[in-house]
């Protein structure tokens, strides 16, 4: 099989480098806070994502996921706190860090009046790839994302799913070490979703770090090794999935810091854990409304 541009050639030297590299967290935030006027969207978040992790970042709507991603990728300034990506302070070395990360943002941020090929070429050049590399990768990515037949179409005429695939292609064209994905599978068909998942898993196998938000908990459960849950701007849980299972079972409510998983940890689904943690109000009372309680007029 041909070697992909996401991977480094495996070998003794590389493994040594990978071990050393993995000692530095890929993403590390300290008391990260963002306020909008009186509203605190992200409140003292201490997040640590080790290199090589497939990290799921979950939370209900309006919990602060996208705001956190925007801060981690330099699109939004934090009100206070610090961000370190690959060991570097974002405030000090933003340009260098941006070269090492790829982003599929919430609104995709595509230029609608370009074709897919033109857009990828532009992104490649902005990330400093030389012309030949950019052209080669553009061609490969368009084929990989099954967009090669749409070369004459403007992006504005693409379907939502096609735009999502293009945004993903643009996010990886420069071979990033850390990839931030905000709802990457939203609107993507099953075939393309399968292709994308396989690509992401290969990236992880080759040492990349992926930071993913999604409301589809089955996907997160299947892909991610580590998970954090944000609720009303506060980080309420963080750890490996098994650790979360143990922690959630132990406390039964939000505000846990995941501990070591006992071997007999009950294998509950991520959805159950998630609902257990965020389905409570600030006092810890169940907040979810049962169908019997409300909307009785629904057939």
């Amino acid at each position: 099989m041909a070697e992909t541009f996401f991977e480094k050639p495996p070998g003794r030297v590389y493994r040594g480098f990978k071990q050393a590299f993995m000692m530095t967290p890929a993403i590390d935030t300290t008391t990260l806070t963002r306020r909008f006027g009186d509203f605190t969207a992200v409140d003292n978040v201490n997040l640590r994502v080790d290199a090589g992790q497939f990290f799921g970042f979950l939370g209900p709507n309006g919990a602060g996921k996208s705001t956190t991603i925007k801060m981690l990728t330099g699109l939004l300034a934090p009100t206070s706190g610090s961000i370190r990506i690959l060991g570097e302070d974002f405030e000090v070395r933003s340009a260098e860090i941006k070269r090492q990360i790829g982003v599929v943002p919430e609104g995709m941020a595509l230029f609608g009046r370009l074709t897919a090929g033109e857009y990828l070429q532009f992104v490649g050049r902005m990330y400093g790839l030389d012309r030949v590399t950019t052209l080669n990768r553009t061609r490969e990515l368009l084929e990989f994302m099954q967009l090669a037949d749409e070369q004459k179409k403007l992006i504005t005429d693409f379907s939502h799913g096609m735009q999502k695939k293009l945004a993903m292609a643009a996010a990886v064209i420069h071979g990033p070490k850390v990839l931030f994905l905000d709802e990457p599978f939203e609107g993507v068909d099953a075939v393309a979703a399968g292709t994308l998942k396989a690509m992401l898993q290969r990236m992880i196998a080759r040492g990349a770090t992926i930071f993913l938000t999604s409301h589809v908990l089955e996907i997160v459960e299947r892909l991610c090794t580590h998970i954090a849950i944000i609720h009303r701007g506060r980080l309420v849980a963080q750890g490996a999935l098994d650790e979360l299972r143990a922690g959630a079972r132990r406390t039964g409510q939000a505000g846990i810091e995941a501990g070591a998983a006992p071997p007999e940890a009950e294998k509950r689904s991520l959805e159950q854990i998630f609902l257990e943690i965020v389905g409570t109000d600030r006092e810890g009372n169940p907040g979810a409304v049962t169908p019997e309680q409300e909307l009785s007029w629904l057939s």
């Binding site: 099989m1 699109l75 030949v132």
Partner: protein, 583 residues
Amino acid sequence: MVELTGSQSLPDSMSPIPASTQLLAVAWLRWRIFVNSTFRRQPKNKRQIAGLVFAILLRIVVWPILALMMVGPIVGSGFLAWLAISEGRPQGLAGLLLGIALLWQFVSINGLSIAASIHSFDPASLVRFPLRFGRYFVLRSLLGLLTASTIVGSLALLAAALGIGIADASLALPALVAMAVYALMNIYLTRMIGAWMDRWLANRRFREIFSMIMALSFAAIQFMNLQRAPMRAHGARSGLFLSAMHSSGPYVYWLPPGFAAQAILLAKHPLAAFGQFAALLASTALFAAVFAIRLKKQFLGEYLSEGVSRRVSQQAAPRVRMPALEAAAQSAPAAAGAVFSSTVAACLRKDWIVLRSNGTQLIGMMTPLLLVAIFSMNRAFSSSFSGYFLPAAIAYTLLGVLGPLYNVFGADGRGAQLYLLAPIRMRDVVVAKNLMSLAMVVAESGVAWIIICVFSRARIPVSAQVSTALWTVFVVALNLAIGNLRSIQAPRYFVPGQSRQPRGGTPTNRTSGLLVLGVLFGSMLLQIPVAMASSYFELPWLGAWVFLPFAAAAVFAYAFVLRNVEHLILEHRDVFAEELCKA
């Protein structure tokens, strides 16, 4: 599966990206957007082809007119500069440069709508790429250099430099250098104003305050204009203007136009000229620095959107009661539910909530009324044009409120899908939209009418009032009919009261905008022969008899369009969905 083999030719990923690579990439991006927007439009049916042909013809007519309008100031600048030096009145040069700077800002502000209609991209979106701030600043300085204001201003300065050079060859080189720096100063001044205005206008409260200040400024200027210089006294007005220019002369020497003028005129005294040139450079640097401060905030990830009500969203949501919705429903026109069908009443409520929160639009509606009041109070003006004053004033007030009739669904954006999905008649939705628009038209023209009747010193005969009323019915009904057609055929998504529109466009389709003007001015032209004939033949009720059938025909046309709304929306639902639902 296709495998991503890629090229491994990236030798050292952390070596700096050459500035030329990124600058050229952005230039290429801008070029491709221009090419794709200009040559890749693919009309799908005959109507779209006709629209494209019409748009091209329009440009062929309008652009040369715009160009001719710009030739005057450019040639005039060259001539005045030559005159100032050759006639030995060098003090006029500073005034000329001040005039060019004002022209630059004027074209910049008025060219915004033209710039908005040209497809481009938001330069602020470049912050996500690995750029250093310095490079971002250079990019932001370069992007938009080919705007009308820069072209016209630079050419005017070049013409002035040529004029100076022709008058006195020894001043040619200093003039060219000083004008080049002065052009740079104007570029940064425009950028600085634009960037800070963008920042402030992102806030709704500021937009409302700004609109209020602008409205009062226009009214104050008109008020002073009429008070200080009665009609037909052009000499007096010119004298006032010239004396204002003359008295401002000494102050201009402490401003960049004065620095530039002195740097040229004192060329034979190198030290003094250098001092003035340094002051010009310093003012350019100052404007660039203030512009850079704004860009730096943007670069670091500034949040400008007004967003949602923050305080409410942080608290636990009430489970059953929704006081905000209840309050909104209660404050909507109370009788709506009782008089109209539930669809019409619901749409009216919704549009009322949107209008109520759009202070900018409400303030915008006040401006024509203020001006009508000022003109009505001026005896010389209202009595000089007593026959035409009422219809002209009503036409003027209508100008602002007729435009929205041509894009009644624009503010709904994706929400317009609901009209297609819900089991309702589209006609009810259009009726609700028209009723809301009509309420605004009646309020605006009604208040203007009362102002004219109360403040105008000359009595307006009943026959003239009836004639104007029938003419107003004709114009409004015709605009409603054509507006409904255009709202379905060529809708355009926009956010009410927001200066920067989501797609960088204007709130109304350009063709629709021209139609509004065409219908209004066409019907105004109809007024003139009717008023003349009425006066000549001493038939005061002639206007009423002429406009009665016109009004009846327009109402019939409106009813006809309304009757066919369901068919129209079915026929155009693809455009409707594409323009609004993909917003």
